[in-house]
Amino acid sequence: MTQHHDSNQKIKLGIFVVGGLVLFVAILFFLGMSDIFTNKETVRTFFSESVQGLTVGSAVKYRGVPIGNVSKISIRVTDKLVQIDMAVELKHFVSGSEQGQQRSDFKRFFQSELEQGMRCRLEYTGVTGMRYIDFDYFATPGQTLTEPPDGALDPDELYIPAVPSPFRDILKAIGTSLDRISRIRFEEISDGLERSLTELSGLLADPALKSTIDRINEAAENLEIGSRTVSRVFGEERMNRLMSLLEDDLEKVNKLTEHLITETQNAKLPESTSAFRAASNAITIGQDELANTLTKLNQTLDALTELADSLSADPSSVISGKKKPQIKGE
């Protein structure tokens, strides 16, 4: 009887222990051990901007469909780029062919998507500041792919270029505007002026010239105010560089004005009327050109100021994108 009871008890104990352990393993499997057995492909990208809000485990989506997670975030010391490795689960991509072909199918699909303009960028998941990586057509089809940084890629790793996030876009737009401002050819203008002035030597009793000088002065003032506004709004180093450029130009304009005044004072009388007319015309054109440019510059600066003000007042508008600030100017 005890023998029977004994073996009965042992069977129950065995069921209990084995059952518990099987359950344990099953739960571990369900909770992610299954990761080991799922087909994955690593996709790598690089961000030059801050990836604040992105963590290991953050979602990776293809046009809104979750297809994987961020598996590693690291910083390349050589160029300060943030390297993001994403594990994309192949089960999310259904193809007609067999299991074994999944991987090559995905690679082909990925390549063709890249050619059609698929890029990745950081997106906000909500108001919490957490981010995910979105794959979407952020570039125009057929646009040339930016090459990955040197030595950043293993042979069989996939690379997707990153495009700046919407917020980054805005900053870039501002940057371009300012770049364009810096490219205004003050030098050419002033060269033209100087050239005209040399031709004009002696003809400067004309009242029109006087008004030109006034206008140049006015323009110089405008430029100064503008540059002050810009440096108030943006403290960035790049801006400063830009400002110094502007200031150089300003100085040149000032010098030019001074030169003009002295020339005027020492001027002889005009030699030929036609020469005078031509020179006078050239000055007028140059002056109009300058006035035009300065108006535009003013507008740009106004727009930038407005944008900066609205950003500092309501940063979330950029995140949520509800109230997209328009960039005027260029």
Partner: protein, 267 residues
């Protein structure tokens, strides 16, 4: 004046001495058992006793553990549904139930059930053995009663409690799922997916790990109260009560400490 102060001091010390002794006794008890560990490793223990306690604390306790955890899961799901439906987020019930069961309630409920189930049984058993001079008999046979009686219980508990916790976790989640499917009309797949998303391996394993200290506490409290029960039948009864009350207290305190420790590593 002086004799009076001395008297008062004596009176005070008389009151505090038992407290002090109460404080050192469990420590001494643990020390005795710990001192026997090398001997245990050399001689092993009686397999029959181990199997008996594994049967008592594992197999026989399983139904009640499953039932209680299932009901707790259901209760939580119903309460969660009431709150979360205000925000139209009923599906989050799966997250809430899964996380709470795996992290906290599963290990805790199992420990509390085992306190009543095993802790009191240990205390009563050892108390009766003491009353019946079985402890003396062991001692005069040259066997240390502390280790002889505690080790099989302890090892059985150390094996059965984590297993019961795993079973309890599953039962709790199933309870929540039952409510989710029947009352909230969430599909089982959706519920299951949400649950798996809410829990990760670390949370689950850390939850199960909690049951090891709980097992030790329940066993020690039960055995200690048994060994220190007064030598009469009322004493045995009081010993069992004391075992339950003190191990519930110890479990809750341990849970607090463990939670704080876990928070250091970010869970």
């Amino acid at each position: 004046m002086k004799p009076k102060t001395e008297q008062q001091l004596r009176a005070i010390s008389r009151h505090f001495r038992p407290l002090l002794q109460d404080g050192t006794r469990p420590v001494e008890f643990i020390g005795r058992i710990a001192a026997e560990v090398p001997d245990l490793l050399r001689h092993g223990m009686r397999g029959r006793d181990f199997r008996y306690y594994l049967d008592l604390c594992g197999v026989q306790a399983l139904p009640i553990v499953l039932l209680i955890c299932l009901l707790m899961g259901m209760v939580m799901a119903i309460n969660g549904q009431i709150q979360l439906s205000k925000f139209g987020q009923e599906l989050l019930v799966a997250d809430a139930v899964g996380l709470v069961v795996v992290k906290e309630l599963g290990p805790l409920m199992v420990a509390l059930v085992m306190t009543g189930w095993a802790g009191s049984a240990f205390a009563a058993e050892i108390g009766t053995m003491k009353l019946d001079e079985q402890i003396c008999a062991l001692e005069t046979m040259g066997i240390r009663p502390e280790s002889f009686l505690v080790f099989p219980k302890l090892s059985a508990m150390l094996l059965s409690m984590p297993l019961l916790t795993i079973f309890g976790n599953v039962a709790g989640i199933l309870g929540g799922m039952l409510v989710g499917i029947t009352i909230m009309k969430i599909t089982p797949v959706a519920y299951w997916t949400r649950t798996l998303e809410a829990i990760n391996i670390t949370t689950f394993v850390l939850g199960v790990l909690k049951s090891f200290p709980f097992a030790i506490l329940v066993t020690f409290a039960g055995c200690f109260c048994g060994f220190n029960a007064a030598n009469n039948s009322q004493g045995v009864g009081r010993g069992a009560t004391k075992a339950v009350v003190s191990s519930i207290f110890l479990i809750v305190v341990a849970d607090v400490i463990i939670t704080v420790l876990y928070s250091f590593i970010g869970y």
